[in-house]
């Protein structure tokens, strides 16, 4: 290496310091009793061996963003990103899945695809045998055929849904021959809830009602009363039926 290092300003023992300059007068380093001082920019990256500077040697806040080259921070180096650090929009292709617990708002009707309906309990039952009852006695209709019972909530001619909510219930009772009156009534928990009375000579009465059922103990049944000597109800799917579905969950 050409050139001459000129040693100058070596002070006395009482000062205990000296400065080393190049032959052009540039200060290379200085030494005092406690430190060796090197001017800014004197040590280039080429002078530092790989692995020589470890993280513990870097003071907090020392490396600024300007010192990080584009593309040098990989995904593996990112643990999390605060919401406040996201300034653009996240597009759908960047979302792989969202947990239910992360959805705090409501899903609107517009966000539900066409043709998507609820999967709440629903049933259709009917009587296929003609059965007699006592005129003037409110009698529970026996439905021996279950056409649908999506949630296995219909048994013994009683619908006891296991999902709480508002149910649209309807039923019909056909009479074997003309009767002076027919009364079809939806019973809830053993008591009359809603009924339809037909006083004219008729062959059938039907009832439809919206009823809240608690999803555990509440149940509905269909009763009928005939005000005449005619005491048979018809075993016919089109006349004597009982059906319902969850219209709105609780």
């Amino acid at each position: 290496m050409a050139g001459t290092i000129i040693v100058s300003s070596i002070k006395t023992d009482t000062d205990n310091s000296f400065i080393v300059r190049s032959n052009t007068g540039t200060t290379l380093f200085s030494v005092d009793t406690t430190t060796i001082s090197i001017p800014d920019g004197s040590i280039t990256s080429a002078m530092i061996a790989n692995g020589t500077v470890i993280a513990a040697d870097i003071l907090d806040g020392t490396i600024t963003t300007a010192k990080i080259a584009d593309g040098n921070v990989t995904n593996a180096k990112i643990d999390s990103v605060a919401n406040t650090k996201i300034t653009g929009n996240i597009i759908s292709s960047q979302i792989t899945s969202v947990a239910n617990t992360q959805i705090t708002g409501n899903i609107t009707q517009a966000q539900i695809a066409t043709g998507v309906a609820g999967t709440g309990p629903a049933f259709i039952a009917y009587a296929n045998t003609t059965t007699s009852l006592t005129s003037g006695v409110y009698t529970k209709i026996t439905f021996n055929i279950e056409e649908y019972d999506t949630n296995s909530n219909f048994a013994s001619s009683r619908f006891t849904p296991t999902v709480a909510g508002y149910y649209q219930i309807s039923g019909g009772v056909g009479v074997g021959a003309s009767a002076t009156s027919v009364y079809a009534i939806v019973y809830k928990n053993g008591s009359a809830y809603n009924g339809q009375y037909t006083s004219a000579t008729t062959l059938q009465a039907s009832v439809s009602t919206l009823v809240y059922l608690n999803g555990s103990t509440d149940y509905v049944e269909l009763y009928a009363n005939f005000g005449s000597t005619q005491n048979n109800y018809v075993g016919d799917r089109t006349q004597t039926y009982f059906q319902g579905f969850l219209a709105r969950s609780a």
């Binding site: 006592t134 005129s135 003037g136 006695v137 409110y138 529970k140 009534i185 009763y223």
Partner: protein, 56 residues
């Protein structure tokens, strides 16, 4: 004789308005094998018939 007929024979003064969901007497059958029975008797003057009176 049916249950309504037995009750009418005991109390001929009863009318159709006394029976039913809006009346004071409700006769019911839950199709559970128990048969017709008096589910409600709230008549203001007539006593509820006894089992003996209603027996065949």
């Amino acid at each position: 004789m049916t249950l309504p007929e037995k009750i009418i024979s005991l109390y001929p003064e009863l009318t159709d308005e006394d029976f039913g969901l809006r009346g004071t007497i409700l006769l019911q059958n839950d199709s559970d094998g128990r048969g017709d029975y008096i589910a409600k008797w709230e008549h203001p003057t007539l006593a509820r018939p006894t089992e003996e009176q209603l027996a065949d």
